[in-house]
């Protein structure tokens, strides 16, 4: 069946959830090197989620909002630059996809928390990475402790954590979670004109906590919590590499 339908028609036909307009618009704006700071400020100011996250990035040492020294979007942009805003725009669909995955596959409410409020990861943990390349280069890192990885895999497979005997099932579930997050995130990039391809995710046990930033690009650290489960996501990207 050949199909000449527009994206809007296909989106309706397939029952797609509406996209995050502000994140798409922001990605489009920031991907241009001559982007207008006023317009970017307006887009972020209109979206409470983006605004909150930008201010959090601009106040890395603050324990809570009362301690913020950078209080406006404009100041935050001046301080952090465009690389940070692009990563912020990209990580919004990524965070939404992760939250939705937890809701849909595990029936758990995942909260986006301040990195400083999270209990730090220690020792051996599960590390998933996925790279993307094309008009934008970057990498997404997903980290969790082994108990969280086991709980997630068991929840997705609908069994109790004790029934999980195969380590491959744990790493495969983490890889699929990473795949779902980055697939949604990649769609946002491509829609903004930043065509790129995803590599196959790599999941392994690690004691390495380093997240090297892509040269010249931005880096954002995210943390999430659902009960005892904690997830740490780092996103680094550079759309201006060529």
């Amino acid at each position: 069946m050949q199909d000449g339908a527009s994206y809007q028609e296909l989106s309706r036909r397939y029952g797609f959830a509406p996209k995050l307009e502000s994140a798409s618009r922001l990605t489009q704006l920031v991907s241009r090197q001559d982007s207008d700071l006023d317009e970017i400020t307006k887009v972020i100011d209109k979206d409470p989620v983006l605004r909150k996250r930008l201010l959090r990035v601009a106040n890395p040492d603050a324990e809570n909002e009362i301690e913020y020294t950078v209080e406006t979007v404009e100041d935050a942009l001046m301080r952090n630059g465009m690389g940070c805003v692009l990563v912020l725009a990209m990580s919004t669909p990524l965070a939404q996809a992760l939250t939705k995955s937890f809701q849909t596959m595990l029936s758990l409410k995942l909260e986006d928390i301040d990195r400083n409020a999270a209990e730090p990861l220690q020792g051996e943990h599960l590390l998933g990475t996925i790279s993307f390349s094309g008009k934008i280069e970057g990498r997404v890192y997903l980290r969790m402790n082994l108990a969280s990885a086991r709980d997630i895999a068991a929840g997705i497979l609908g069994i109790s954590p004790g029934e999980l005997t195969d380590t491959n099932e744990i790493t495969d579930a983490a890889g699929e979670l990473l795949n779902i997050m980055t697939g949604n995130f990649k769609s946002n990039l491509c829609d903004a004109g930043l065509d790129c391809r995803l590599q196959t995710p790599e999941v392994k046990l690690s004691t390495d906590f380093q997240t090297p930033s892509v040269p010249g690009g931005g880096l954002e650290h995210l943390a999430f919590r659902a009960g005892k489960i904690q997830l740490f996501v780092d996103v680094t990207a550079n759309p201006w590499s060529d």
């Binding site: 050949q2 994206y7 959830a17 699929e176 997050m181 769609s187 946002n188």
Partner: protein
């Protein structure tokens, strides 16, 4: 004859979820971990419907779909894309190649049943017949 469904996904987790979702229905599930295996399994098993991921090693889902549609014996098999990618150009390209539906991950199990059930007749398995009570002596 039970419905034959082919799930092509490199993630074992997704194939397990698909299997669990379809377990109550009268169907046979075949699996493949990439497009190359998917084409071979489709040619061998002639499934009634294919659930197809996009990003996979060896051969991705778009390449498999292209080859499937070029094959006179396989091109009529309906395909539902089951992927996290819903970018505009990708969706339009895939629709032009010819798919019956598109389900974005993460998905709810009833969404999958609904979409598959619109294309092939999915019937719940009949409950196991109750064990006959032993005859009582008169």
């Amino acid at each position: 004859m039970p419905i034959k469904i082919l799930s092509v996904d490199d993630s074992r987790t997704i194939r397990l979820i698909v299997g669990r979702t379809l377990r109550p229905y009268d169907c046979v599930l075949c699996e493949a971990a990439n497009g190359e295996e998917g084409l071979a399994t489709a040619a061998r098993e002639k499934p009634d419907i294919i659930l197809l991921d996009v990003t996979m090693p060896v051969m991705d889902g778009v390449t498999m779909l292209t080859k499937l549609k070029e094959d006179p014996e396989l091109k009529a098999i309906p395909v539902i894309m089951l992927t996290a990618e819903s970018g505009r150009d990708n969706v339009i390209h895939i629709a032009r190649l010819g798919v019956r539906d598109y389900l974005v991950k993460p998905f709810k199990e009833d969404q999958l049943i609904d979409k598959v059930g619109r294309i092939v007749p999915l019937k719940k398995k009949e409950a196991a017949a109750p064990v006959a009570a032993p005859a009582t002596a008169a």
